[in-house]
């Protein structure tokens, strides 16, 4: 809940003739910025700081003679607040790398500043696929997920399993429109039909009118092109109006396990969504979750937290190899050159446009009877292999990609 604070500086520099690394200002400073008190504080928030800390510990920075500090800040989901924090961080506090930043509007603003000041930006929380498209920079890597991957995963997989008529409930702002546009394109490309759409004001509180229209359309799938509390409210009210009981399915185009937790399985059951990581997929993930949750008031890690862990790990590897943290472009180039490998995401690569490539997963929310423990919410419907999960390199429109 704090907007700016320093966590413990992690290591002591061993001055005994170890690797002679020149770190700007003597240490590597990692800035984790996200929503610490608002609607996204559970899916990122303090948890991302914890994930970064765990990454630094597991990397063994201390033993390698690297002094790493982590600072956190709250951007309150506002681009002006986020810009100010990042600018002050870089100019005054000598932060070297900015990590996480959910809320695409903030991420896009930070993207520009980090490029101008030649630092590194590792995006885990934000969704805008433009970050590896027209707005790509040599200083930014988009780590965890983006709107294209979500649209592709959810849209395509649902159409292929029979959900071929869609109605969109869209938040009337740029992000909602983008989500709707990407998903509609995927739906139609795979043989489905979009029966209609309605735009609700953003932010919305009462979706009853719009849900009624969705119900009247008789589409098999109601696509929720919104996020955060809008998604939660739409799902709650859809349940109240008997929409899911009436045979229509809701597809949440951007939702996290923390949203399912807030809704409860009774309301959220049957919801279909795409995520990049789930704590219960394998032993390494489970172990991470068990270590993470007690530090974050019992909340289990989301894909955003895992992305922060993975990104920070890879960043430290690159800095270690270069023996310097000063030149953002050089570090990112190194990160693209080295294949990624960590215990949470396994092996992967970072593409020329800054897109981190890994598989995506399609999940369905379990019924209450099927869940055996707290946070046991998902059943895996499909795995989308890494080479199909993200927008093809040539289609992005990123100026860094030589076509």
């Amino acid at each position: 809940m704090k907007r700016l604070f320093s966590l413990t500086a992690l290591a002591v520099v061993f001055g005994c003739g170890c690797a002679q690394a020149q770190y700007s200002d003597g240490s590597i400073k990692i800035g984790v910025m996200n929503d610490m008190s608002g609607t996204y504080s559970d899916l990122s928030g303090q948890g991302s700081v914890i994930a970064a800390r765990m990454a630094v510990e597991d990397f063994g920075a201390a033993a390698k003679g690297m002094k790493v500090e982590i600072v956190g800040a709250d951007h309150q989901n506002k681009p002006d607040v986020g810009s100010n924090v990042v600018r002050t961080w870089i100019d005054v506090d000598k932060v070297d790398v900015i990590v996480d930043v959910p809320t695409s509007s903030v991420a896009l603003a930070v993207n520009e500043i980090v490029r101008d000041k030649n630092k590194v930006f590792l995006v885990s929380g934000a969704a805008a696929s433009d970050l590896t498209g027209p707005k790509c920079t040599p200083n930014t890597i988009h780590w965890t997920y983006d709107t294209w991957a979500l649209a592709n995963g959810t849209g395509k997989a649902i159409v292929k399993t029979g959900g071929d008529t869609w109605f969109f409930l869209t938040a009337d702002y740029a992000f909602g429109h983008a989500l709707e546009r990407d998903t509609a394109a995927v739906v139609e490309k795979n043989g489905g039909k979009v029966l209609g759409k309605v735009r609700h004001p953003f932010p919305g509180t009462d979706f009853s009118s719009f849900l009624l229209q969705a119900q009247a359309s008789k589409a098999k799938i109601i696509g929720l092109a919104n996020a955060g509390s809008d998604t939660i409210n739409s799902i709650k009210q859809a349940s109240e109006f008997g929409i899911t009981q009436g045979g229509q399915n809701l597809a949440a185009l951007l939702a996290f396990i923390t949203d399912v937790h807030a809704l409860g399985l009774q309301t959220a059951q049957g919801l279909i969504m795409t995520e990049a990581w789930y704590w219960d997929l394998n032993d390494a993930n489970r172990e991470f979750a068990k270590k993470f949750a007690p530090q974050f008031k019992g909340v289990y890690p989301t894909m955003v937290h895992a992305g922060v862990y993975s990104a920070v790990t890879h960043y430290l590897k690159a800095v270690e190899a270069l023996k310097s943290d000063a030149d953002g472009k050089a570090i990112v180039a190194k990160m693209k050159e080295m294949p990624t490998d960590d215990k949470l995401f396994g092996k992967g690569t970072v593409r020329a446009d800054g897109r981190n490539i890994h598989p995506m997963y399609l999940f369905e929310v379990k019924k209450p009877a099927e869940s055996k423990a707290a946070w046991d919410y998902y059943k895996l419907r499909a795995t989308i292999p890494a080479d199909e999960a993200f927008r093809p390199l040539a289609d992005g429109g990123c100026p860094l990609v030589k076509s």
Binding site: K78, D80, V81, F175, P201
Partner: protein, 320 residues
């Protein structure tokens, strides 16, 4: 005869103390960048100008506008759009923002002036909220993203504003210029009529003044200066976002003016610097900022109505 002489003498005394204060303020602002982060100072200056614009309305005409963010924010959007999309040089971008403030001020003023007191406040709030929703939906504002990467450009084609010092000097000159303009407006025959309207509108009407017209002109002037502040801010931060048109922003400028001192010349400036500094230090406490603001409101209204500068002026027995 004696009363006129007394009034003239008061005028001279007043001008002296205000002139001294102005010189002190200007000097302090000139050397400030050596001690403080220039971006922080520029932010404070933009808000100081915004607060001075707001104070023109509440302090000297007695009209509480609860929607001043409308002018500030939309001028910010238009200025940013002019600089980024239309490629205007910075001085024209700021002028575009100013014109936006003036235009919107005329429209909103014409509607709001029809009611008085509390209704006036509620109407300004409601209209500002309506324009907030427009800002979310209008394509050119890019909604949540805001207008980003606004180029600062070259002032008059010569001075590169990407240089922090150049930008600071520009902002300082704009601020001081507008401040002097506001001073001139307040201490003019027009300004005297405004103060008369604040004291007793019925009497002013009975004296033959078309008070509606005066109020509207004051409103438009206030909105115009708010526009200057907004457009300048867009260039300083190279960003125009929804925060600038949202109602908490209207609340902030009211708080700044209240804390600094309603109806004093320097009150808004002091109040703006106070609040910007406070928020800087309060960043560690997250959402408690709202609570602190609320407490300051309550305390000021109950106990501290004159504000910092007002109390100071009272103690020193000068006009500030």
């Amino acid at each position: 005869m004696q009363r006129v002489a007394q009034a003239t003498e008061d005028h001279a005394v007043r001008a002296r103390s205000e002139a001294i204060a102005f010189v002190v303020m200007a000097c302090a602002l000139v050397i400030a960048p050596m001690f403080a982060y220039p971006v922080f100072l520029m932010k404070a200056l933009c808000f100081a100008l915004f607060a001075c614009a707001f104070n023109l309305l509440i302090g000297y005409v007695g009209l509480l506008s609860f929607g001043h963010a409308l002018f500030f924010g939309w001028a910010s959007y238009v200025g940013a759009h002019a600089a980024k999309v239309w490629g205007f040089p910075p001085e024209l971008a700021i002028l575009s923002g100013t014109a936006t403030g003036a235009g919107l001020g005329a429209i909103v003023g014409a509607l709001a002036i029809r009611r008085q007191g509390i209704y006036f406040a509620m109407i300004t709030l409601a209209l500002a909220q309506m324009m907030y929703f427009f800002a979310i939906q209008a394509p050119f504002t890019h909604g949540e993203d805001g207008i980003q990467a606004v180029p600062r450009g070259k002032l008059f084609g010569l001075i590169d504003l990407a240089n922090q010092t150049n930008m600071y000097v520009t902002v300082l000159v704009i601020f001081l210029g507008c401040f002097l303009l506001i001073y001139r407006i307040i201490n003019s025959p027009f300004g005297e009529v405004l103060k008369a309207i604040r004291e007793n509108e019925a009497r002013a009407v009975s004296l033959g003044y078309r008070t509606e017209r005066y109020k509207l002109v004051a409103f438009v002037l206030s909105a115009t200066f708010a526009g200057v502040a907004g457009a300048t801010k867009a260039l300083v931060f190279q960003l125009a976002s929804l925060t600038d048109v949202d109602w908490p922003m209207s609340g902030e400028v009211i708080l700044m003016t209240l804390v600094g001192g309603l109806g004093t010349l320097f009150g808004p400036v002091v109040g703006a610097f106070f609040m910007v500094t406070l928020e800087n230090y309060l960043t560690t406490i997250g959402q408690w900022v709202f609570v602190v603001q609320g407490v300051i409101f309550v305390v000021c209204v109950l106990l501290f109505r004159r504000g910092i500068v007002g109390e100071l002026a009272q103690i020193l027995r000068v006009k500030l």
